[in-house]
């Protein structure tokens, strides 16, 4: 009888040990699972934050369609100079008696081309400064919500380790080729200034589309910006980072890139830490139809 009782007690003890071990293993599994899901959650959150910051900056770049408007006006000014030069040549040959007035008009339009180039540089500087500021403001508004210390995990405050301004490969300017001035159109095509893009003949971006002969000194830079399709304006959006490239000195940037990192450490056991990284690229709002 005694032996039998002792045997039952032993069995009960074994079950208790098994249950305890099981609970500990289960608790560890839950902890590990919770930690992994926490890491996964934090990584998603970091990526979302990077997207938000990049998008905020991108929207600011073409705020109130300033880039679309300056692009259109530069191309119109180019046409104005071409037209005045064309008139001037004709007048010189056939009506020299009104050459003076024609020269006055020519001088006006050439001066405007220079003025617009200065204005374009002003827009570039303004867009860059405002976009970078907007991205920093956005980052400041969200970074405080990250820091978290749990018994098993510590999450630091994220850091901005890179902010870039650039453009997206394959996005040409929003300016459509003009129908009039056939000679100019043919010349532009032969020099590779225009390209067929989504059924629109658009002027290429980020190159100096100089006129010929007496007006080669005038700069006509058009910025890369999605053109409207009929009345549809392309919205600012996050895109794959592969097509992003940093802007050099000339073009107005129309895309942003943000890289954030976030340090995460475990809180139990031997110290182990890792850094998560999230990169996001966004393109600005496309051009509207112009007045």
């Amino acid at each position: 009888m005694k032996n039998s009782k002792t045997g039952n007690l032993n069995n009960r003890g074994n079950v208790l040990i098994f249950v305890c071990v099981g609970v500990v293993i289960l608790a560890m599994c839950v902890l590990v699972g919770y930690s992994f899901s926490g890491l996964y959650f934090d990584h998603n959150r970091l990526q979302t934050s990077a997207d938000e910051i990049a998008l905020t900056g991108a929207k600011k770049l073409n705020d109130r369609d300033r880039i679309g408007q300056i692009n259109n006006m530069i191309s119109r000014c180019r046409q104005l100079v071409y037209s005045d030069r064309d008139d001037s040549k004709d007048i010189k040959k056939e009506f020299p008696e009104i050459q003076k007035i024609s020269d006055q008009l020519m001088q006006e339009s050439r001066q405007s081309a220079q003025d617009l180039e200065n204005e374009r540089k002003k827009v570039r500087s303004l867009a860059e400064n405002e976009a970078v500021q907007a991205m920093h403001d956005k980052f400041d508004s969200i970074k405080q919500s990250y820091a978290m210390t749990l018994p098993w995990m510590r999450v630091s405050t994220p850091r901005v380790i890179g902010v870039g301004l650039g453009c997206i490969d394959g996005v040409e300017s929003n300016v459509e080729e003009f129908d009039q001035f056939d000679e100019l159109k043919q010349s532009d095509r032969s020099q590779g200034y225009t390209a067929l893009f989504d059924q629109l003949n658009l002027y290429k971006s980020n190159k100096n589309e100089q006129l010929k002969d007496d007006d080669t000194d005038l700069p006509f830079f058009l910025t890369s910006l999605p053109a409207p399709i009929k009345t549809e304006v392309s919205p600012a959006r996050v895109i794959m980072p592969d097509s992003y490239r940093e802007a050099d000195d000339e073009p107005i940037p129309t895309a942003t890139q943000v890289i954030l990192d976030l340090k995460v450490e475990n809180g139990i056991g031997p110290n182990a830490a890792g850094t998560m990284k999230a990169t996001s690229t966004a393109i600005t709002t496309g051009a509207s139809n112009q007045d």
Binding site: D63, R64, R66, Q69, I70, N72, M73, R76, C77, Q79, L80, S83, D87, D90, I91, E94, F95, E97, I98, K100, I101, S102, Q104, L105, E108, S109, Q111, S112, D115, L116, N118, E119, K122, V123, L126, F178, D179, Q180, F181, D291
Partner: protein
């Protein structure tokens, strides 16, 4: 050499029963929502839309071109069609304010009148008169003065030395003047 844009027969043409004249209409408007960023220098943008039609066919207008100005300085052109007024025909410029007149639109109209006159001259079209809204008359004349178009003070002989002249009129027998570019 004197090249008259305003011919002596212009007053006869106004009353002509043949209606063989052409009207070149300029519609001026100030653009409110362009270049509204901080520190913009392009804050006085006006747009002039130019179309034309035969006087007896006011419903068949053809848009010729659009011109943009900033504080009276031309900054852009978009040509839509050729100016197909047959050579030798008379044409009258008619200026219309799309909205209220402003110094920006008056300066823009002044420059656009000169541009269109040179263009028409080159195409051998005689611009016989320029009719402007009465409320814009003074502003347009002053802006044309700034562009070296002046009223003659010295008499007919001197007037003949002008390269171009511009006969500016208003509706309802309002003020009128002739400006000369020497």
């Amino acid at each position: 050499m004197f090249i008259a844009l305003s011919l002596g027969e212009s007053s006869l043409a106004d009353d002509s029963p043949f209606h063989d004249d052409w009207i070149v209409r300029m519609q001026a408007e100030k653009l409110q929502r362009q270049f509204t960023y901080n520190g913009s220098s392009l804050d006085k943008v006006a747009k002039i839309t130019i179309d034309y039609y035969r006087e007896d066919q006011p419903d068949s207008k053809t848009v010729y071109e659009m011109l943009w100005f900033n504080d009276g300085k031309p900054i852009g052109l978009e040509r839509k069609n050729e100016l197909q007024i047959p050579a030798g025909k008379n044409a009258k410029i008619q200026v219309v304010n799309k909205k209220e007149t402003t110094p920006e639109t008056e300066k823009a109209i002044a420059d656009a009148i000169i541009r269109l006159s040179v263009d028409a001259f080159r195409k051998r079209t005689a611009l016989i008169s320029i009719k402007v809204p009465q409320e814009s008359f003074q502003g347009i004349v002053e802006a044309m003065n700034q562009l070296n178009c002046v009223e003659s003070k010295v008499g007919a002989d001197e007037d003949e030395k002008a390269m171009m002249n511009f006969s500016i009129e208003t509706e309802n027998q309002g003020p009128s003047t002739i400006l000369y570019y020497y």
